[in-house]
């Protein structure tokens, strides 16, 4: 029995599949979030160096990882959409962008709020914070390009190209910022989380990472469904949905 890869690539069948999956992921996200916060605040001990301020790590690191991971996933789906000309993958890519941009903003915000007690200033041109800021520019560039083009097909393809060009540039930007940062030695001591992390801290952070995964999946599927409806409003199956009144 050959696997029919393209069964769920048609917006109609994906629409119902996503509909079933969203509640599942939402529930898991909420459970993991509660568990992560509980472990983070009530189980993890006070850090000997940073006192209580380190607890920001429970949202800063997941947000930073998610922002980078979502950009790569977005570029992947944009590439697939460009290569296989499947509309749904392009819709998926444009559904990912806002969530990725939000996580980048959260990572920047929590990073600077964490930096204030640790490094003494709100913004430090630390290599990671700077590359995170550039990542935000890449997200904004992608979203504004897609917003500026009316015809959805062209918007998908143009967005795909800029996403792919962007994803190729991410390592280059990261290393050049890293290099630039070490050259201008005035930079601060960067916070090294890994070695000094007690197991409960690490556990709390990992639970929060998975919670952010589940949350992103739920939100992105939800937004994909909306984009499907927006773009397929002229099709029969959507009209059918309308009759049954199940445009949930």
């Amino acid at each position: 029995m050959a696997i029919n890869w393209f069964k769920y690539s048609s917006p109609a069948s994906f629409y119902s599949l996503a509909g079933k999956m969203i509640p599942f992921f939402t529930v898991i996200a909420i459970i993991l979030l509660a568990a992560g916060l509980y472990v983070g605040f009530f189980v993890a001990p006070t850090d000997f160096q940073q006192g209580e301020a380190y607890r920001i790590i429970f949202i800063h690191v997941p947000a930073a990882w998610m922002s980078m991971f979502l950009y790569v996933v977005m570029a992947f789906w944009a590439g697939i959409g460009l290569a296989f000309n499947t509309r749904l993958s392009a819709m998926f890519a444009s559904a990912i962008a806002p969530t990725g941009a939000m996580f980048t903003f959260i990572a920047l915000w929590t990073g600077s709020l964490w930096g204030k007690p640790m490094w003494g200033t709100w913004w430090v041109w630390d290599a990671r914070l700077t590359s995170e800021l550039i990542l935000l520019f890449l997200y904004i560039g992608f979203m504004s390009l897609q917003a500026a083009i009316d015809d959805p097909r062209r918007a998908d393809k143009a967005g795909a190209i800029i996403a792919l060009v962007g994803v190729v540039n991410i390592p280059i930007i990261y290393f050049s910022v890293q290099w630039w940062n070490t050259l201008h030695q005035g930079a601060s001591v960067s916070v090294n989380q890994a070695p000094s992390m007690a197991t409960t801290m690490l556990a709390g952070m990992l639970i929060m990472v998975f919670a952010s995964w589940m949350y992103s999946i739920a939100v992105i599927l939800k937004r994909t469904r909306i984009i499907i409806l927006e773009r397929e409003s002229h099709t029969a199956w959507v009209a059918g949905l309308q009759k049954k009144g199940t445009v949930s």
Binding site: A53, A63, M102, I106, W109, K116, I226, V247
Partner: protein, 65 residues
């Protein structure tokens, strides 16, 4: 259990501003995003109702004439 009472929990060892500042903004962002999606969905349904009716009117018009 790290904190004996509520006020100590909120002071967060003196770093309350930073910790709750970042958690608060994260909460606002997440809730904001969900609201944005819900809002987008509602406008879609409203707009939907319209376009769908127009289609219906048009079709009925054609059949009668």
């Amino acid at each position: 259990m790290n904190w004996s009472n509520i006020s100590e929990f909120f002071s967060m060892g003196g770093y309350g501003l930073y910790v709750w500042g970042s958690y608060g903004v994260t909460l606002i962002c997440i809730v904001g995003e969900i609201l944005l999606i819900k809002n987008r969905h509602r406008t879609l349904e409203k707009q939907y109702g319209l376009t769908h009716d127009i289609n219906k009117k048009e079709t009925t018009h054609e059949t009668t004439s």
